[in-house]
């Protein structure tokens, strides 16, 4: 049983995702405490040179196989399960992303390892792994103790600074043979679908007025749009607004939408679920209107208003126009 901390590297279209560096930075700290090494797990095809960007790791385990060319829930889970079985690291950190969701719970069952998901922090406490998860839409934090000498924590993107994990260097690269039958999968990757371009690129705007489910009906959108216009900004939204087809996907901020960093992010009737916060928390100035004083949006907002948006938004628009 080793004291190593493993980090599963996430990549799409040949580019390592920032969440990998966030986890590597954290893993450095944790490995210092456990007395083990930081090991990055890189699975793919023809991406060995990416190992060079994982300099925060002491070692990169690289598994190369045609079945790993594109992410595939089945082949990646099989590959990772094989690697964890061989190495039995003290702790494995997996991004709690779309890809990571298909891996963490899978290896938890396959390898019989404890799993805690939605973590925003991980610590060693008296030799035990303790993870803090953000649950109930970000309203409650839950601290769990993981038993046993090997466990898995899936970590929300944006939980740790990426800078600490972005180190130059040339970690030792060890190539791992793929398990047998890796290409015999019941899930087959077909292709990637790129998003359609929108009328407005919300990632390039200085001012965003972002609307959530508190708006109640599509008919009320013009009221918020007017505020955006009065401020000289553009309209963005949370996911349910896009799922309802009230706004195009290109306006969605968050985990499965776009990451924005405007000078002003004005959140109107948005609760601030972790998946939303992931996409906007680095905005320079955040103002939020929400009738629920315990809405998690107020944890990242600089200024908050707990009044009815249907009163405050028109009042503000009018004052801005006059």
């Amino acid at each position: 049983m080793s004291q190593d901390v493993f980090v599963v590297a996430e990549h799409l279209q040949g580019k390592i995702d920032d969440v990998t560096y966030e986890l590597l930075g954290k893993a450095r700290e944790l490995a210092g405490q456990s007395g083990g090494h930081v090991v990055a797990v890189l699975m793919g095809s023809g991406i060995q040179d990416q190992a060079g960007s994982l300099g925060a790791a002491d070692k990169v385990l690289y598994m190369e196989h045609a079945a790993l060319e594109n992410f595939n829930p089945e082949s990646y889970a099989k590959a990772l399960s094989h690697i964890l079985e061989q190495n039995k690291p003290r702790l494995t950190l997996i991004p709690n992303t779309s890809m990571g969701m298909d891996l963490a719970a899978a290896v938890s069952v396959k390898n019989n390892l404890p799993l805690v998901a939605y973590a925003t922090d991980v610590q060693f406490d008296n030799g035990q792994v303790v993870a803090t998860s953000q649950l109930y839409g970000g309203k409650i934090n839950v601290e769990s103790v993981l038993e046993g000498d090997s466990s898995v924590v899936s970590v929300l993107a944006g939980s740790f600074p990426a800078d600490a994990g972005k180190q130059d260097g040339s970690p030792a690269v060890e190539t791992v043979a793929a398990p047998d039958g890796l290409d015999q999968t019941r899930v087959r990757f077909k292709n990637l679908i790129q998003p359609e371009g929108g009328d407005v690129d919300i990632t390039q705007q200085d001012i965003l007025v972002s609307v959530g489910r508190g708006i109640q009906s599509e008919d009320n959108l013009p009221m918020v749009e007017e505020l955006a216009e009065a401020l000289g900004g553009a309209l963005a939204s949370s996911r349910p607004i896009v799922d309802n087809k009230w706004l195009p996907k290109t306006r969605q901020v968050g985990k499965s939408g776009l990451k924005v960093k405007p000078k002003l992010y004005f959140a109107v009737g948005i609760s601030g679920a972790p998946e939303h916060i992931e996409g906007m928390k680095d905005s320079e100035l955040i103002i939020a209107i929400n009738t629920d004083p315990e809405a998690p949006i107020f944890e990242v907002a600089h200024y908050g208003v707990t009044e009815d948006l249907f009163d405050v938004v028109p009042a503000l628009t009018e004052k801005l126009k006059s």
Binding site: S98, M101, A105
Partner: protein, 255 residues
């Protein structure tokens, strides 16, 4: 296609959540529950697939707060069968246990597809769908927002960040974690639900296996610091508007 949709009641997040005295669970005495919103999407996608391609939709849930209401509502929306698992598994039971129990029930049922919500507000130990698929040893894809049958398999779209999606072909049977149905989940009128409650029957089953190794336990629950950074603005809407404009002027965002 025969589709099974496991659904779960979760605390309504719009309500205030309180933590119990020993700080290891929610104070559940006054909680109101509602169906996990992603399960609503899973059910909607199942009903759409049935309408387009035939087959049946079975909803299944663990006994608990308002379970019957949720199951009757699903029938009112168009599900064919409702099944309740009667083991005593209190709210907050880890997903490993729920998934193992579900697997023991489902392994005796016929299905092509299991659609779960991609996640729930209380999934502390991992997403139910992925755990379930691995206990059943069937393939899974999570964060799915489009499903179409394709020669004994299904073609699904999985969402990544930034609007990028990956398309996969998945052999059946399979478990899919649904992020969003192709349309907004339908609504069942109260009168229709009442009618269903009089006519339809909920089948009851007992899961044979509720022993899963979870390997983790809750040490402490706590609320995040309230408004850690936010300064609250108060007054009439007009006064609040003036304060906001002043802030924007100070930051040079508005002249």
């Amino acid at each position: 296609m025969n589709i099974i949709v496991p659904v779960k009641q979760v605390p309504d997040l719009v309500e205030e959540l309180e933590i119990n005295e020993d700080g290891t669970d929610l104070d559940r005495d006054y909680l109101s529950y509602k169906l996990n919103e992603f399960d609503e999407h899973a059910l909607e996608e199942a009903l759409l697939l049935k309408e387009e391609h035939g087959g049946t939709v079975t909803v299944i849930a663990f006994e608990g707060e308002d379970t019957d209401k949720a199951l009757y509502t699903a029938i009112a929306k168009g599900a064919d069968r409702a099944v309740k698992i009667t083991n005593d598994l209190p709210p907050g039971t880890p997903n490993h246990v729920l998934a193992k129990a579900l697997a023991s029930v489902l392994s005796g049922m016929e299905y092509d597809l299991i659609l779960t919500g991609v996640q729930a507000a209380d999934d502390r130990d991992g997403q139910l769908g992925v755990l379930l698929a691995n206990y059943l040893d069937v393939p899974h894809v999570s964060v799915v927002s489009g499903v179409a049958p394709n020669n004994g398999a299904v073609t699904v779209q999985k969402e990544y960040a930034g609007g990028v999606m990956a398309e996969f072909e998945v052999d059946l049977p399979a478990v899919l974690g649904v992020q969003a149905a192709r349309q907004t989940p339908r609504y069942a009128p109260v009168s229709r639900v009442r009618q269903v409650m009089r006519q339809a029957e909920i089948e009851e089953v007992e899961a044979s296996d509720t022993e899963a190794e979870v390997g983790s336990s809750i040490r402490r629950m706590f609320k995040p610091e309230k408004g850690a950074g936010a300064q609250m603005l108060e007054g009439s809407p007009e006064e609040i508007a003036e304060q906001i404009i002043k802030i924007l002027q100070e930051k040079g965002i508005k002249k």
